[in-house]
Amino acid sequence: MDREQLTRELKVLIIEECEKDVRPEAIDNDVLLMGQDSELGLDSLDALQISLAVKKRYGKRIDGNNETRAALQSINTLADFIQR
């Protein structure tokens, strides 16, 4: 799949799943997704919601270990994980 299309899809997925009121274009590919200090301020519950949606859409499982934390760091790391 085209990388640009994937990153856009992921942004839309995160916005929908986490009910964030931002436009996909406003999410930079390298910005931190998780944590109080991040742009989007997503938390562990959001991470679970995203993980479930990613698994359903792309068949890639993110579970509660270090792999998860690494994959959900940014849009780019998530896209890398899916395209691996």
């Binding site: 938390d43 562990s44 519950l45 679970l48 993980s51 479930l52 579970d63 509660g64």
Partner: protein
């Protein structure tokens, strides 16, 4: 204010179908969790579970009708209530599952036979348990059903205690119920909070193991010959996060302090503490910090979830009955499976059964939605 006594108690859980069987299992160190596979999902789900050994299909919606009435009757038996007393007995229910197993079964059947008209939550409403309890007990008095996640039954008991204290009722029947259902099993799986083995406060803890259990308590202003006293308790809400209290333990310390104040008891007077101890990284952290905030030194800590699993909305009453029964039998149970101290928490639950003496005991319960509830009882 009137005093309340635990005049009658009953329990059916993974340890056994009645209190004496549960106590024997506790003393013998026999834990009964086994593996289940749920295959109604596209990907089968395998998990550990502490089931009631009634020999039925785990998700059989008729189990409540079979399992609940004997527990109610066992709790009422010691007091020998008259028909009039039964009729005037208010019921206080704590659950998080309610009749969802029936809803699930019904919807699944409709989907199989008539998917176009299938509708979930058809038989809805929080009253199924209360109706069955009232029928069994012969009660025609008020009914209250709590739905505050894992503090449901503890809150129900606390409300009953306060009602008796004011003299609104002379007796109250409190019931906690959790039976296996898909929603709880798959919901917690989706939250990735499940572990193979539950290890409260252990450095290697990774999550909860779910279980089912039904308990009932007859609260009475008159004691029986050996009845423990339910002294008081407190409840508060922490808005740090929907799935758990602030890990700094502040809201838990606050509810502990408030509970002790309401009971007129000093922290130093607590002989042992029955922890909530779910075995998740976050609960045990918050709970440990909260306890340290109030107790110095820490009293002996008892964690019961390795014995009966996390029985969700019913856990407050299930664990109180198990704990109070052990105290009556002269011992405080050990926390099975604890091996490695978590230095950051510095809470070491009892690893060996200990003699229980008369005095005050404190019980913790915490739930989703930031609910914290503490109960204090007195063993004669």
């Amino acid at each position: 204010m009137n005093t309340s006594y635990l005049r009658g108690m009953a329990l059916n859980c993974a340890l056994g179908l009645d209190r004496s069987t549960c106590l024997a299992a506790l003393r013998s160190g026999r834990m009964n969790s086994d593996k289940r596979v749920l295959d109604m999902f596209d990907e089968p789900l395998e998990l550990s579970y502490y089931r009631i050994a009634d020999g039925a299909d785990l998700l059989d919606p008729e189990r409540m009708k079979r399992l609940l009435p004997p527990v109610v009757e066992a709790a009422l038996a010691p007091a020998g209530l008259t028909v009039k007393q039964r009729r005037e007995l208010p019921v206080f229910i704590g659950s998080s599952c309610f009749s969802i197993a029936s809803e699930e079964s019904h919807y699944a059947r409709e989907l199989a036979h008539d998917p176009g008209h299938a509708m979930p939550m058809r038989l809805t409403g929080f009253d199924v348990i209360a109706t069955l309890v009232r029928e069994t007990a012969g009660s025609n008095a008020a009914a209250f059903t709590w739905n505050t996640a894992c503090t449901s039954a503890a809150n129900a008991l606390l409300a009953a205690q306060r009602s008796l204290a004011l003299g609104r009722y002379r007796q109250a029947l409190v019931v906690g119920l959790e039976l296996a259902n898909l929603t709880t099993l798959s919901g917690f799986s989706a939250l990735q909070l499940m572990a193979d083995t539950v290890r409260p406060f252990d450095a290697r803890r990774t999550g909860i193991v779910l279980g089912e259990g039904i308990s009932a308590v007859l609260l009475d202003v008159e004691p029986g010959p050996t009845s423990p006293r339910l002294v008081a308790g407190a409840s508060n809400c922490d808005t740090h996060g929907v799935t758990g209290a602030n890990p700094d333990g502040s809201s838990i310390a606050a509810v502990l302090a408030r509970g002790l104040r309401m009971a007129g008891v000093e922290a130093a007077q607590i002989r042992a503490l029955k922890a909530h101890g779910t075995g998740t990284v976050t609960n045990d952290e918050a709970e440990a910090r909260g306890m340290h905030g109030v107790f110095s030194p820490m009293p002996p800590v008892c964690a019961l979830k390795p014995w009966l699993g996390h029985t969700m909305g019913a856990c407050g009453l299930n664990e109180l009955v198990l704990f109070a029964s052990a105290l009556e039998d002269g011992f405080i149970p050990a926390a099975a499976g604890f091996e490695t101290v978590d230095e950051a928490l510095n809470v070491v639950p009892l690893t060996e059964e200990t003699t229980a003496g008369p005095g005050y005991y404190l019980l913790n319960q915490f739930g989703f939605g930031g609910n914290n509830t503490v109960l204090i009882m007195e063993q004669p």
